[in-house]
């Protein structure tokens, strides 16, 4: 039984929905994250990233829909799940009165698999003083302690909820270092949320854009970059564009300039615009992830 579950995707969401009173935080979210991959979840503030992650971790009840993490239902078997998942939350609530070594002892006693070697290595890498009290740690150190706790039991899945928000560049680099080390050594699955697109480029194989609780895109980063292009068309004087091409993500007309960001780009699409619309000239522009993300969000805002 567990064998079958072990071959399935690391994370599987089907129609996941979360309501807080009358507001819809997550709206029929379906997603599969294969084992061994790194998935980056991006979205503007309040898009539902943290809510989704909390439901994955069994920390929040689910309104409707299904969640399976490593084949486990987080609400039915939370302990079995947490033995196998490492989680770095958005805010850190480690017992403030404990010393670092006490936190380690406390956590060590709860995990079936605790890798003391990893733990010691990370302590060294991060320069964490075991004698220090948690309340005396800086924000950067606290995040690093959180990561250390999340990886020291050799989890199969690592879940990071905006882990690098508010870190200074040095702490950020050390944190990335720690994450990459564990990915390199164990090939574990990683899901992280962020609004820094640099992190996505660096860490993610696959990216999902979440907006108002809905998943707008879910693709490999490279495929997304390769197939999403911006077309800049110069309109004939006094003419307006007729109809945007299929898979238009966002468009804007300003004077003679018509900008269209399209998904599933082919040269054919650019030629069609030139042939069917009142335009003189068409140019294709490559987009970085940041522009692409902004266009997705702007396109949604315009549509709603």
């Amino acid at each position: 039984m567990s064998n079958q579950a072990d071959n399935g995707p690391a994370i599987k969401l089907a129609g996941l929905t979360k309501r807080f009173g009358r507001t819809l935080a997550v709206d029929k979210l379906s997603l599969e994250v294969p084992r061994g991959s790194t998935f980056g979840l991006i979205g503007p503030n309040g898009a539902g990233k943290s809510t989704t992650i909390k439901m994955l971790m069994g920390l929040l009840s689910v309104s409707t829909g299904e969640v399976r993490v490593l084949g486990i239902d987080p609400l039915a078997e939370p302990v079995r799940l947490k033995q196998r998942v490492g989680y770095v939350p958005e805010t850190h609530h480690v017992y403030r009165w404990m010393r670092v070594e006490e936190v380690l002892g406390f956590c060590r006693s709860l995990y079936d698999t605790w890798n003391e070697q990893t733990c010691r290595e990370m302590l060294g890498l991060f320069g964490l003083d075991p004698r220090k009290k948690v309340k005396h740690l800086s924000k950067g150190m606290l995040v690093k302690l959180s990561l250390l706790l999340a990886v020291s039991h050799d989890p199969e899945l690592l879940v990071l909820d905006e882990p690098m928000a508010g870190l200074d560049p040095v702490a950020r680099e050390e944190f990335l270092d720690g994450v990459l080390r564990t990915i390199c050594e164990r090939g574990q699955t990683v899901l992280f949320s962020t609004h820094t697109l640099d992190d996505v480029q660096r860490l993610a194989d696959t990216v999902g854009i979440l907006y108002e609780g809905r998943l707008l895109v879910h693709r490999e980063v490279e495929a997304l970059l390769a197939t999403t292009k911006r077309i800049r068309a110069t309109l004939v004087d006094g003419c307006r564009p007729d109809s945007p091409p299929e898979e238009t993500i966002w468009q804007r007309v300003q004077g003679r300039e018509w900008l269209i960001t399209v998904g599933d780009f082919t040269e054919e699409k650019a030629r069609q615009i030139l042939a069917q619309e009142a335009v003189d000239h068409v140019e294709v522009i490559d987009l970085g992830l940041e522009d692409l993300f902004k266009d997705f969000v702007k396109g949604q805002r315009a549509a709603s």
Binding site: P78, V79, T91, Y95, R96, F106, S109
Partner: protein, 226 residues
């Protein structure tokens, strides 16, 4: 489990220290008075030591029950108040184990105060010439009322703690619960429905304490959020 209990001990350390002082202080005062030869109006038979300890034992027992309200009300909500409950929720430990660890402290505390004080009272009562069965009955009634008040303190605190985020509210709620029971009995007394007010209190406590404890436990086990 050792670490979980250690954590509970650390979280409740202040309450336990205050509790220990309240447990010991009356006896210390009694011993001091006895040493100085001061005692309650002598009935000529009892030694001042025994007479003093009888009073201090009563005090100590009653005051120590208050600590059960603190321990109960503090138990679960304290970790919600500083949000460390969220940290605990990330760790692979079942709600049942968390609760078991949280229960050990009040249980240990209750066992301690009762064995200590009952032992003292037992020794002291043996020393005192108590006239008649009537008094013995009175003592038993007092002891059971005290025990039940302790139970109500703890279980109401436990229930509120399980549902609320503020340990202060939970503790206050627990402390006024016995008062509310008494007050609810007053109109019944006026209407002459009650023949013996203490029995009303006794049975209400007997029903309320397990109900609150079970409800609090059930709610905490069922709740998804930390």
């Amino acid at each position: 489990m050792k670490w979980l209990i250690w954590k509970e001990y650390r979280l409740n350390r202040l309450i336990l220290i205050v509790g220990a002082v309240l447990l010991i202080a009356p006896h210390a005062i009694a011993l001091y008075f006895a040493w100085r030869g001061i005692g309650p109006p002598a009935n000529g038979v009892a030694s001042p030591l025994a007479a003093n300890l009888l009073i201090s034992g009563g005090y100590s027992l009653v005051i120590s029950q208050l600590m059960l309200a603190f321990l109960g009300g503090h138990a679960i909500a304290c970790e919600r108040a500083d949000r460390s409950a969220e940290f605990l929720a990330y760790l692979p430990v079942s709600r049942a184990r968390i609760l078991a660890a949280k229960l050990t402290l009040p249980l240990f505390w209750a066992a301690l105060i009762w064995t200590a004080n009952l032992l003292i009272l037992r020794l002291v009562i043996a020393e005192l010439p108590l006239p008649g069965k009537r008094v013995e009955e009175q003592v038993w009634l007092m002891l059971s009322l005290t025990a039940l008040t302790g139970l109500v303190f703890f279980s109401v605190g436990w229930l509120l703690s399980s549902m609320l985020e503020s340990p202060t509210f939970s503790i206050c709620g627990a402390l006024i619960a016995p008062l509310l029971i008494v007050m609810a009995g007053i109109p019944l007394d006026w209407m002459n429905i009650l023949h013996r007010a203490e029995l009303w209190y006794l049975f209400t406590c007997l029903a309320l304490a397990p109900a609150c404890f079970i409800a609090g436990t059930w709610y905490y086990l069922r709740r998804v959020e930390p």
